[in-house]
Amino acid sequence: MAENGQTQETVTVTIDGREVEVPKGATILEAAEGIGTRVPHYCYHPGLSAPAQCRLCLVEVEGAPKLQPSCVTPVRDGQVVHTESEKALQMRQGVLEFYLLNHPLDCPICDQSGECKLQDYVFAEGRKHGRSREPKRVFGRDDFGGDVLFYGDRCVMCTRCVRFMDEMEQEPLLTVVERGSRSVIDTFFDRGLADASFAGNVVDICPVGALVSKDFLHKARAWDLDHTPSICPNCSQGCNIELHTRDDLVQRLKPRENQDVNAHWICDYGRHRYEWMNRGDRIEAPLVGRGGGRRATGWQDALEVLLAGLEGAAGPVRVVASASASNEDLGTLAALTHALNGEGAVFRSPRAADEVALPGFPKLKRRRDLVPNRTGAELLGMERVGEDDGSGGLTEARDHEGVLIVLGDELPDQDGEFGARAELYVHLGSYPSAAAQAADFVLPITTFAEQEGTFTNFEGRVQRFWPGVRAPGAARPAWLVLGALLARLEGRAPETRPAEAFGRLGSLAAEFQGLAYETLGTRGALVNEPLRIAGDR
């Protein structure tokens, strides 16, 4: 059954002796991948057209006189396919030998090493020794502009990069120049990829080390990187990504497939905004007390003192939040605010003048809201204030005389006078800030890269992310800190898992009802109420 409830016609094929039922119209390659049979290929990419030119995915189909390109050959009922037959293996070995004719074999200094399809395939199926005694053709290197560097001699001429620019970005900034074995990928004269908005993807889809990222150049070996599924925090699209980390530092962001959000792609804007996740200037311990009396302490102590302060405070509660915080952080903050009879929180968030769409997959846009969780914050009753550059809007908070709670806003436009009149000023943040000078409590919280949680994207898709780097010092997720306070106020045991913090969301906003943290999986789920979206996100 297809998702829309209509029955889909299927056919039964036998692949390497295994019978499988697949939708009519699928290709042999898709059918094979569906049962975990990998057919080597370069030119085919699930997000692009298939030119069937690399000739690596040729398989034997019983009854066909020649080997068939599995990437474009549709399945037929009763078809018998052999991906590992002698003929197919021999053919692949031959094609792989062709690829190595002019290849410089410079794996030791190639960034792709360890995640290179040429390395993988040759290692698995190639000849032990190539037969070529001829000198190698040399193309050399080229700066393609933007973040992209081209190592011509490593190119396997799959044209994925050209097709990405043609079909997805729809700005044909790359092309094949010349023909035959003189073919080489190039830009048009001095007009390079700097003009593009999604060109980083060509580095991702290049199956070898021919296109590499300048930013990542010689920074880390692929096998030293840990991969953590995450969500891009740089706009409200919520592209599915992986954090690639080494030694607790984020080295790069890579797209993670999700057809409902970003397919296989991410934008350059988002891709290159990760350095902040590695900032070393962090608040590492809870700080209690104002001015000269401020001292670092442990969580237990800090929370005891804070609790006493909150219970003794007389003034109204005012809250400044952040749309970069997770649903769990914001939900717990909202619940605590309720418990303290406070007003709804405000938050500020930067907004770009325009959105930037990927024409070939137009659902993917770098959205105007340059934060990941504006929708989440608004569903939880928080109100956006201030300017589109993320400043302003805090006049009332600044001089508030009751209890002031700030979560996740670094307040770069504020000075030491911020919150100075507050009866009690609690500042939960990751980075030292002048505007935290007057705070009675400065509590270290983790960034999204250091904690587990969810964001709600522009269209109300709730998506999970996982911790990729360790939290510095005593920094803790905000939901855990605020949850502990709330539990004490309510006289019960605190939540210890993000799922529990997530579970509270339904009681705060009906839209979250029916969603369960565990079933969100890696693809996320839409909130269950139709979303009324103010303005274009």
């Binding site: 030119p51 062709f98 004719l101 094949v176 023909r179 074995s181």
Partner: protein, 430 residues
Amino acid sequence: MGYPYSHEKEVRLISRGFGDPAARTLDGWKAMGGYEGLEKALEVGPSGVIDEVKASGLRGRGGAGFPAGVKWSFMPEKGERPHYLLCNADESEPGTFKDRELIRWLPHQLIEGCLIGSYAIGAEHCYIYLRGEFFETTQVLARALEEAYAAGYVGENILGSGVTIDITLHVGAGAYICGEETGLMNSLEGRRGLPRVKPPFPAAAGFFKSPTTINNVETLSVVPHLLTNGGEWYRQWGTEKSPGTKLFCVSGHVRKPGNYELPLGFPMMELIEDVCGGIRDGNELKAVIPGGASVPIMNVSDCLECSLDYEGVAKAGSMLGCASVIVMDETTDIVKQVRRLVQFFSHESCGQCTPCREGTTWLTRILSRIEDGRGTEQDLDTLLDLGEQMTGTTICVLSDSAAAPVASSIQKFRDEYLALIRRGERVGAA
């Protein structure tokens, strides 16, 4: 009139008029019975035309020899998308020089063929894709086309029939691969001349994704005669499976190289010895490539009994292709010739398919090394193995074409390779 040579055994149907400048003009062509075929076609209707062409058994002259009438009948009923006829005048196969002569001497014959073909398949627009280097040819054809437009044979309401057919000339940029039918379509659309994966076949989705038929210049040049004289008439020449006449482009070491129109099934040796006046300087025949650069090479014993029709040449282990007979005498250095041929394919490979892009170059390099006297016997095994890797594994058959002369020459002239590899002995060297 003959051009440059003629022979009494020739049957000049489509080459009548070669060498006669008058035949180029509208009046000259009409004096030869020109445009009668078109009138006949408009009388019998599209299906009548297809029946006549089918009855003649005319096979495509571009190389593959696919029956023209059958190809036309693959075209779907008229639908939303326009139909197109493309005439392939990219003629770039080494050894082939028939299409340019057909256009140069009898441009109206081709124009008439294009009109009839377009009419038969329901196309209102025909493109003639000319090889980039055909300067004079293109001029001649353009002048004739102007004349034909002015006389009402081309354009709107042809001869008052209500039928509209336009013909556009398109000059390529001189790439062999743009002669491959789908490469030609891409080129004509303004893209790189890259052959397309089939299916879809041109009749389903060809030029601009529309139903398209593509035919060679010679194929279309025959068509007016089939309408004028009837399809059966054509069968009085040739064999059952290869009916009619064919232009043979003979080049190489014969005394009188040139184009000869002969009935299919003509004996190869008679062509060389008699029609072409024998081998130059009284030398011995050594090898023949019978169908243009892309077919297997034949040695003398292959040639002796070979009849020049599609089946006869296949039986002799090669292919008739476009009937470009390259004759080589005893002074020929086979290794050098084969290297030169393969180098051509390597230069012309479009570069999409790995086996062709890398294989053609590798073959060339190994052959060059052997030629330089630095070969090994193992190289021969490698060459044969590469040939196998390159055959039947790519998008178009250029790859197979490059492999064919290599494998066949090693098979038939192994001694010559070995003499060079082992002892540095070279044919033709003093």
